[in-house]
Point group: C2
Chain length 416, copies 2
């Protein structure tokens, strides 16, 4: 595969330092930043390693000598005593640190501008080996450093980068990418495309498209989340084009997007294009659907109102659901889901209305309607109201995700 | 510190497999799950490595032989062709896979219960080396496996675990922790406590409590999320007790919980204890607050109704906000936030009502009311309605988080 060639030319690894990562206090978002910036260069991350602050950094870095061509190191550039990445790298390469007057000037200016008090340790942040290129950091005090590969040490190209994502991201874009582009030979053209599907399990998706996709010889991957599966192809433009034909032929009606757009974004886009509007009446999903829709910029053009009618009385007051209907069939029932969707449409004047009513648990189940039972309704100006009964016996948050996914996909299909 | 001793006795590493991690498509949340479960055993993660699917798994796993005592491997247990962790481990240890009838029976039952179609590949998930202990997985089809250390291979204790967090978390608690407890010698007593604060920035929290906490000699850490900061202390029971005194004295009114309970859980607990109820009228937060509240099991006892009134007309229809008030002051204004909270309380009959109205962006700002402007209201049976004006100029999702955090903390303080 083409990208393998690039990978062989330059093996890139990531070394994350910081005890907080291994204590689980902080999620590692660096790989997302790196991969987005590196993919267009034809570079892939061959391995990522996280180690606690201190000596384990030295051990893990030394192992990359001779194995990796490029190593991106994050963290440990700050002013506190556990920030020793610069010292370890300088020492491993047999270099010496010197005071850099320009770095020092910029640190002082930054503190003055924000009227912050400096600590004597801040001056240590102005130390660097003269062989390093300084990667300026307008978003924090710690500048990054780039050290070229030293053949006699068998050392890779080293980038020392700050840990905080809002400092790291611009530094990668403005400094790391330009330096790497100069190091890399011109790359063969490789594309990545992700097809998002809804309503099918991962193994079923593979059964439907796996064999013909594998036969293309491109790289194939799957990623499953509650109620949706992504199919990812990395290959030549021709391989990606042919994968698209296979996937559309086999998965057509289940395809949500071919450009990583979320289900909710696809819905907002389609409603906007049609000049139509949406309302949502949620019981068991508790606002999860409205929350997803309103995460989409521009949602206000199509989303009129949501009703989270948890209590029976709220279903009656806000949506006009007949109290007798609830008494007769129970709040978790086909007729109530129908009345909620139709009532929300009438109350808001929207062209489409979704409704959900079910038992999220852990309590509230009965033998006839166990925890996980849910009815999802769709009312519209264009067709008779539909209600689907589903069963998601799982934990509360996953239940809410699956219900919101099912309801949104019902609407997506109606908008197809 | 005491935990260092345990670390020397047993070196634990984590090996995450999955190209999606290195492509940045999925955030790695496994370390959080592991560290929370392992800490009470005196175990810390000495190193974490992520590699793409396929042969790199073999290479990275082989390196841990002789170096680590325990290796937790995640991912690659599913039914698709890139799921080859079981094969690699079995091969490295020189073992053979056999069909396990009990695993097969449980997979079939799971599919039947959910009326899902099986693929022939699902049968591969029932293969395991007979030397392995099966770790049952009620939340997915892939069971985990435990393989003891084989002295002649220099292999560590190996745990093969599923990648999806909802499957991983219960398996760690119910199977990994009990097996590890039997392997480990008794540990010296070390406690961890986390104090959750709201409404203060990380550097301000550190300025208020950092020095006296450091003087205790325990391990101190901070973790910041939008609108909340956790202070973490690891030390002897006496150090943790004294840290609690310092933190309560300095941060008292800002403390949300001392047991990692979320802000929304604290609110549901307090409302339940008082026998009072809640309604929420959201404009710019778009259902995010209702979604957080309804994530708490038992929320239905206190949460009556939520109104996501995005359109002006919905504010009037659902909440009775005077259309003239919106025309005169604009939807994003103090009087409208007040009328929304009071209208929601009247419509639902709840004892407390929260309201939000603001400009999430990226569009919709004006010179007088730029993107990020928001009014948060609280009406109750107990006190005059309060409205606070805030300014969060940030991206849309973070804006919604900060607004929901501010509104919920306003209510928490009223319930103190």
């Amino acid at each position: 595969m083409d990208h393998r060639r690039a990978e062989k030319l330059m093996r890139l690894e990531v070394l994350n330092t910081g005890s907080e990562l291994l204590l689980g206090s902080v999620l590692n978002t660096h790989l997302r930043i790196f991969s987005e910036a590196l993919f267009p260069l034809g570079l892939r991350i061959a391995r990522q390693v996280a180690v606690p602050d201190g000596l384990p950094i030295r051990e893990a870095l030394a192992e990359t000598f001779g194995r990796a061509d490029i190593v991106l190191i994050t963290g440990g550039l700050g002013p506190t005593t556990d920030d020793i990445t610069r010292d370890i790298v300088t020492d491993l390469l047999g270099l010496r640190m010197e005071h850099d007057e320009e770095i020092w000037r910029q640190i002082q200016e930054r503190f003055a501008r924000r009227s912050l008090k400096m600590s004597p340790r801040n001056k240590l942040q102005a130390l660097r080996p003269p062989e390093a290129t300084v990667l300026w950091n307008p978003h924090g005090t710690a500048p990054g450093l780039y050290l070229p590969a030293f053949a006699e040490k068998n050392s890779p190209h080293l980038f020392l980068l700050p840990g905080p994502p809002r400092e790291l991201q611009p530094m990668v874009e403005n400094h790391v990418v330009p330096i790497l582009s100069r190091l890399l030979p011109p790359q063969p053209e490789v594309e990545m495309r992700v097809w998002r599907t809804a309503g099918l399990g991962e193994s079923l998706v593979e059964e439907m498209v796996g064999e013909p996709l594998l036969a293309l010889g491109a790289e194939l991957g799957y990623c499953a989340r509650p109620g949706e599966v992504d199919v990812r192809i990395i290959g030549t433009p021709e391989q990606v084009r042919r994968a698209g034909e296979i996937i559309e032929a086999k998965l057509g009606p289940r395809l949500v997007s071919q450009d990583q757009r979320s289900l909710e974004k696809v819905i907002v886009d389609r409603l906007t294009a049609r000049g139509e509007t949406l309302t949502i009446a949620e019981s068991c999903s508790g606002g999860a659907i409205a929350n997803r829709i309103t995460n989409v910029p521009g949602a206000s053009a199509v989303f009129l109102a949501g009703y989270v009618t948890y209590a029976n009385e709220a279903k009656t007051r806000a949506l006009g659901v007949d109290a007798a209907l609830i008494r007769e069939h129970g709040a978790v029932s086909e007729p109530v889901a129908r009345a909620m969707a139709e009532g929300a449409r009438a109350a808001s004047g929207a062209s489409f209305a979704l409704s959900t009513t079910g038992i999220a648990g852990p309590d509230g189940g009965t033998p006839e309607k166990p925890v996980g039972t849910v009815f999802v309704g769709l009312a519209s100006a264009h067709a008779a109201t539909r209600v689907e009964k589903l069963f998601f016996p799982t934990d509360r948050e996953r239940f809410k995700q699956l219900v919101s996914q099912t309801a949104l996909d019902l609407l997506r299909q109606a908008l197809a």
